[in-house]
Amino acid sequence: MLSKIVRTVANQLILFILIFGLYIIAHGHLTPGGGFQGGAVIVSGVVMLLVAFSSKELKKSLRERFLSIMESTGALILIGLALAGIGTVFAYNFLVGTSIFGRIPPTGPNPGDIWTGGVIPLMNLAVGIKVIAGLSAVVLAMALFVNGEEVEE
């Protein structure tokens, strides 16, 4: 566990990291970024917390069991969205042209519209959830194991 200054700063900073990561995830279909990148940004925040506090301390608020459930959920949403298109073909982008994220942007350069992309924004979100949970679980489990703590199944 590091000094009080570090812990306080980390506590404040994690909020900004979360917001930035969520922004990258949510705008994946408009600007550079997406689920993987945004997820990795947020996991870097988790690693910061892990350094500032100890793994034992962090485990009180972030359980592996919870992370495992979250990861499975994200993965199931992703494959569920792919399976939902099977009325046409597996992995068909079935939301383009509907009322949910269905607007089609004008061809060529344009300022960008958040309500476009069909299943792509939803998939970005699912992948984001999955990456956050998965990589956090890996980092946390490694820290716990190296420190000789018990790792939940």
Binding site: L30, F36, P109, N110, P111, G112, L135, V138, M142, F145
Partner: protein
């Protein structure tokens, strides 16, 4: 920079792969072996992403893009996939090395009977 001599980015990728092969073949420390694999992965990623470059191209994102050609999007997507895959592989490798260290107290591949060769 209309024309880069000697395909320099490709050359860099090939040489990086050479360094990685050197580490993988000759280093005995398991952590260094993992670093070699990571370096090889970087070399391949560099090669892939360099394949998609088009002279004077913009990023292939239509949001407020300036006029001009676009670089190829598929190599970027492949590189993204490959990076995530390598992160996963490295995580698993490091976990196993932690275990090997727990069991043998050493991460030298020559000292472990099974890891020789």
């Amino acid at each position: 920079m209309e024309h880069i001599p000697l395909n320099f980015p490709f050359l860099a990728a090939a040489l990086l792969a050479g360094v990685a092969f050197y580490i993988i073949i000759f280093k005995r420390n398991l952590i260094k072996l993992i670093m070699g694999v990571a370096l090889l992965a970087s070399a391949v990623n560099l090669f892939l992403v360099a394949l998609g470059y088009r002279a004077g191209g913009n990023a292939p994102i239509y949001t407020d893009v300036p006029e001009g050609p676009m670089v190829l999007p598929v190599p970027q997507a492949l590189t993204l996939t490959s990076i995530v895959i390598n992160v996963a592989v490295l995580a698993l490798m490091l976990t196993m090395v932690v275990h090997i260290y727990r069991h043998t107290g050493d991460i030298d591949s020559e000292k472990s009977r099974r890891l020789k060769g």
